[in-house]
Amino acid sequence: MSSVTTPTAERAAPAAPPADAAGSRLGALLRVPTLGPLGALLLACLYFSFASDRFLTGGNLSLILQQVMVVGTLAVGQSAIILTAGIDLSNGAVMAFGSIVMTKLAVAGGLPAWLAIAAGIGVCALFGAVNGSLVTLVKLPPFIVTLGTLNIAMALTHITSKEQTVTGLPTVLTKLGDTFPLGQTRVTYGSVLMLVLFAVAWYVLRHTAAGRHLYAVGDNPDAVRLAGVDVRRQLITVYTIAGALYGIAALLLVARTGVGDPQAGQTENLDSITAVVLGGISLFGGRGSIVGALYGALLVGVIRNGLQLTGVDSVYQILITGILVIAAVAVDQFARRRRK
């Protein structure tokens, strides 16, 4: 195989702008898409650790992780969908429906807890498959499709739950809300599961062909189709897997709150999109790292927890989040333009 460089003199096409040795390492570092969100997260942690002596404790950090685990898990699925240049507005409602299905089946339906959990996750995956099919086969815009399924899921949640919160859950359902000791603190099993899901998603997106095709389909779906990939099957798979992830988020929600709550999930769709955007993933698809969404979700959790600890009115949390979202999108646009 010939070496990487050295074009022959006569026929050389002009070389790409040479990356000078000094700037290349810095340039490569700056181009790490998650540098922004990670930086913001570390800055926020730094600020709150000075503002409150209770912030930087093991227990509090573990608490933040636990509070973020539901939206974080939703954000894994949302990231994958947004990377394909789609969007999912239905994930909160689907999660709520899943949580009602699994709790009702376990309590009133008398099903063994594992089966109830599987049914709940399965129902959410089914919603995902419906979303994916409508987007690819009927060619409807994802925004519209998921807006529709959001309402359907919300209605089904109210109908099946009869507006009643489900209580008296078997302990298997809340197991993920239990904690185990790590050093001097306790960590929730569920938050570890969320981190594992992020790690697996990161691996698939970075190191497998399927992940690469996912990025490509958000960037230029024709290119992927012409490259011989079955784009329709790919997208339906992505939406379905995202749905299953929403089912896992439902289980985490049940574990955290200890109930099946039909009123849940009303703001989580936007919360997951916020985490994705704060994480530097482009809403136009094809760009960004899923780890960014984890940082984005953590950032929101840190700010909420930190403001509470310092006694600041929670309204400011919403204000700050809004400013950060705009800043994140602005930085993304700026970086895009610099790339060209």
């Binding site: 209770r54 200890g258 009123q263 929670s314």
Partner: protein, 343 residues
């Protein structure tokens, strides 16, 4: 290896290291396990948490102001939080956890979902925090140490009795504007009204019942739909003032504001002026400020002496009616204006 890979690896390592260090080495200071207070006597400042249903409903805004005033008077620190919407259990769970992490001695809460919040309140009490429910009890009620609330059944009964006396002799068609299915506050007021009026559930004089969520816009919609269903409604029971004001708008638009009677519950200053202007005929006044200040005081007592409040404390209710009716005990508008809550 590419420089991009190494920079990514470095950030990943840094984050993992940071998390591990944070979780393990810093476990000493004030972790959330077994946070039994060190606040004997007046050694540290006492912190109290107040969690309302939402930040926007004026009722809860008043409660928050009352708590802040009492906290300033008592010299305690007040942390506040709320859910994102009426019914947001998850947001209240997060607030409870964060406040415990912040080291509160007691939590005052108006539960958005009484059933759903119960396990979280139990866990909070297990960690040595005193939990006081304001305005709405959790379900089961003993998930909180104490309840400071209006006797909602009485509140409903008072306006039911007044309405009965007002419409005595004439046949009535009643519209019931309720809260939401299964919520105690709404059920108690609804049943109290029926008992005061002297009819049972399902009575033929009740021609329409709708849920409003205690919201003005939804109250208006509910009233409009009820009027479509039964144009000759003559009496409206409303769960609270926002819903009543929405109902009044609907009636006014239909030209029926003079011919239909509205009775409601709350006692805000806005509501009392609407009452004075004749939009409603009777209003059961609640005392959220009293709930808040009693709550703050109770937590302070617990922090200082270890004595927990318990049981249900009735924070009182008064019937306000601009035009009184013989035989029914009520207070006049002047009383209403000087005792109302809100601005």
């Amino acid at each position: 290896m590419s420089s991009r890979f190494t920079s990514k690896a470095i950030t990943a390592l840094a984050v993992t290291a940071g998390l591990t260090v944070g979780l393990t080495a810093c476990g000493s200071g004030g972790s959330s396990s077994a946070g039994s207070g060190s606040g004997s006597g007046g050694s540290g400042s006492i912190t109290v948490g107040l969690i309302t249903k939402t930040e926007t409903n004026p009722y809860f805004v008043t409660m928050k102001k009352g708590a802040q005033a009492e906290a300033a008077k008592d010299g305690v620190k007040l942390l506040t939080a709320a859910g994102a919407y009426d019914g947001d259990n998850s947001g209240q769970v997060t607030a409870v956890q964060n406040m415990i992490a912040a080291g509160v001695k007691g939590i005052l809460i108006t539960p958005s979902d009484p059933k759903a919040i119960a396990p979280t309140l139990d866990r909070a009490r297990q960690q040595g925090v005193v939990v006081i429910a304001l305005d709405t009890p959790p379900d089961p009620q003993n998930s909180a140490d104490a309840l400071f609330a209006t006797n909602n059944t009485t509140a409903g009964k008072l306006i039911g009795q007044f309405a009965k006396a007002k419409t005595a002799g004439k046949p009535v068609k009643i519209a019931m504007l309720d809260l939401a299915p299964g919520v105690d506050v709404g059920v108690q007021r609804h049943d109290g009204f029926l008992a005061g009026f002297g009819i049972a559930e399902g009575d033929p004089s009740i021609v329409c019942a709708a849920d409003t969520g205690g919201d003005q816009a939804k109250g208006q919609t509910a009233m409009e739909n009820c009027l479509q269903k039964a144009p000759d409604i003559s009496l409206v029971y409303s769960i609270n003032e926002p819903a009543a004001m929405g109902a009044y708008q609907a009636l006014k638009a239909a030209g029926k504001d003079k011919s239909v009677t509205i009775v409601t519950i709350d006692g805000s200053c806005t509501g009392v002026s609407a009452l004075a202007q004749g939009e409603f005929v009777a209003d059961s006044m609640q005392y959220p400020l009293k709930m808040a200040s009693l709550g703050v005081d109770a937590v302070m007592t617990f922090a200082k002496t270890g004595k927990k409040p318990s049981g249900y404390t009735d924070t009182g209710v008064n019937l306000i009616a601009p035009t009184p009716i013989a035989g029914i005990d009520s207070k006049d508008t002047a009383f209403g204006q000087s005792n109302c809550w809100g601005s």
